[in-house]
Amino acid sequence: MSSNTSRRRWPLLLPPLLWQLTFFLLPLLFLFVISFWSVVNFRLEPDMTLKNWDFMLSRSSFWSAYGHTWALALGAAVVTTCCSFPAACSLAFTVSERTRKLALMFLVVPFFTSYLVRVYSWQAFLADNGIVNALLALVGLDGLPMLNSDFGSLVGYVTLALPLVTLVQTMGLAQIDRNLIEAAHNLRAGPVRTLFEVIMPLAKPSLVVGALFAFILAFGDFVAPTYLGGGAPPTLSNLIIDTTKSGQQWPRAAVVAIVMILTLVVTSLAAVRLAYGRRK
């Protein structure tokens, strides 16, 4: 009976499998294959050479871009998680169901606008003679260099990831059994202890998954490091652009892309293990 049921379910699995095969595995395979091709007179030529891998992985600029990208993405994950958490707590615990739904709907609104436009608009705030520095000057403080820096990139990443991370955290926090929080209060645990010993452990999966989303979005983002970070030092996405500009070296760009994908796969697996792994 059960084998009959699973046989009947097979056709239902077919569409997602076909989808994954067509739009993920085949392009990925193609990306992997062209990383072994050559470029002759600006044209891709099928080949089976390791020179692209050797060239990219032996360059200090590649590893420095890798380290820089990793650090920025980690920073984005931490900053976004910290910025989202108070808002998510508030939405999950202090407002009515109706208000929460309304707020969650508003969290989606930023996605109605182009990310590029939102990043460009940040320039008006972060420029040396922009709005933030004008406000600082009003209270007698010196202006800060914010645009064309890692800080600028981080602002862009947070702009990109904050709504999504807040959404994930809110949904995770809202599912926490309130009786456990009340029990902690009844047992005389203060708000801080309740937060760190009850709420955060219970919300761990949503906190980790939210941070993972922020990491993934920041790791591959090209817009923020280019338009708010000044493109220097380059991130891996900047490096891909530079590589394709350098005589159409798509195979080398494919090497960078594969390393990025592998990094994200490993990071995701580690994050999932951290989020859902059993406590000892």
Partner: protein, 384 residues
């Protein structure tokens, strides 16, 4: 049902005839449609002329008159940078682009790769061109012509006129001035930037460098890196200059600052004393085009005196023009713009800068590979 059975049982010849007539009806339908479409075309349906170009070259301010005259719609595919253009061509079947607008240094590569049709020199108004541009390097292979120069411009020091006095901007040395630390930007393309700094390093032929000269260029560039705010594409350069975040930009010229100045931004460009670079845009006919005559007519249109004036004042970005009669017409129709761009037939003009040797053509590296230069560019971007 019985009728069907009968037909199945009918003799082979009858079935063959039935099948043939069905086939004839089926094939006649599309043929009549093609014929109808062809009549519609002659009756007023516009043809399509495809163009691969930098942004702006197929906008109404440039092509509207041509479209109306020839009942044609110019369909552009815009690119950003020569490498992007090469990628688009190499990934498209022959005949995809009727017209190809490229930077002059890429014409020999396009020709060698077999992407261009040979042109007839007598079809174009070279006699109206300044002599320097009649046989432009790279456009000819012996006596065979492959591209016609349309417009050009200079690359030097772009600066914020409120923050930087012109006297300082007249030398590339200004990039190293401590007063502008963190305010110097690069247009993110190795070729114009490294060419400019190569001129500053004293190389009269900035792209033809021996090993020690290339090493010197790298050293000079590295010394500039602490001054640099960042590396920007067209949009980033535009906004950086406009909002005052960048006070000096290396690797650009009037093609950006001229556009910004039109909207009131306090920016300008100058060719410094060490010299400047010339960028050049040229039109070719794509290999395998099915609209050769129309493509030829477009090149004739845009290189005529009237077309050249449109090109000089192009809304997307202004440029200098190689047609002397175009200069004359511009002086009559818009003397202020002619003076602003230095295209004046009396007094000092941009042609004097070219003739004095102050301006050199931007070109691809001669002794080193493109990759050698671009790899250094990536390395340069990495370290402050």
């Amino acid at each position: 049902m019985k009728e069907e059975d009968k037909s199945l049982l009918s003799p082979f010849r009858r079935r063959f005839l039935q099948g043939s007539s069905a086939l004839a009806v089926g094939s006649a339908l599309p043929l009549s449609l093609v014929s109808a479409s062809s009549s519609a075309q002659t009756a007023g349906q516009p043809r399509t002329l495809t163009m691969l170009a930098w942004y702006g070259h197929a906008e109404p301010d440039i092509v509207a008159e041509f479209e109306a005259k020839y009942n044609v719609k110019v369909k552009p595919k815009y690119y950003t940078g020569g490498d992007n253009m090469l990628a688009l061509i190499s990934q498209s079947p022959a005949g995809t682009y009727d017209l190809i607008l490229s930077d002059a240094e890429y014409v020999p590569q396009l020709r060698k790769a077999g992407y261009l049709e040979r042109l007839e020199a007598k079809d174009y108004a070279f006699d109206d061109y300044f002599p320097e541009f009649q046989k432009f390097p790279g456009h000819w292979d012996g006596n065979d012509l492959y591209a016609v120069m349309v417009r050009f411009g200079f690359l030097g020091v772009a600066y914020n006129t409120d923050a930087v006095p012109e006297s300082k901007a007249r030398s590339f040395k200004v990039y190293w001035d401590p007063a502008y630390k963190g305010k110097v930007g690069h247009f993110d393309w190795y070729l114009p930037n490294m060419g400019e700094i190569s001129l500053y390093a004293g190389h009269k032929a900035p792209y033809r460098l021996e090993g020690d000269q290339f090493a010197k260029l790298k050293g000079v560039m590295k010394s500039l890196r602490p001054q640099v705010a960042g590396f920007f594409d067209y949009g980033g350069t535009f906004s950086g200059l406009k909002n005052g975040q960048l006070q000096l930009v290396c690797g650009i010229g009037d093609w950006i600052t001229g556009t910004l100045a039109r909207s009131g931004a306090k920016v300008s460009s100058v060719v410094p004393d060490e010299g400047g670079l010339q960028w050049t845009e040229s039109l070719s006919i794509g290999k395998g085009t099915r609209n050769r005559d129309l493509a030829k007519a477009f090149i004739q249109y845009i290189t005529s005196a009237q077309g050249q004036v449109k090109s000089a004042k192009m809304a997307a970005y202004p440029a200098l023009i190689p047609n002397r009669k175009g200069w004359e017409l511009l002086a009559q129709s818009d003397p202020a713009e002619a003076r602003r761009q230095g295209m004046v037939l009396q007094g000092h003009s941009v042609m004097d800068d070219i003739r004095s040797g102050k301006i050199v053509f931007r070109q691809l590296p001669v002794q080193q590979s493109i990759e050698d230069w671009n790899d250094f560019w990536s390395e340069y971007k990495e370290k402050a």
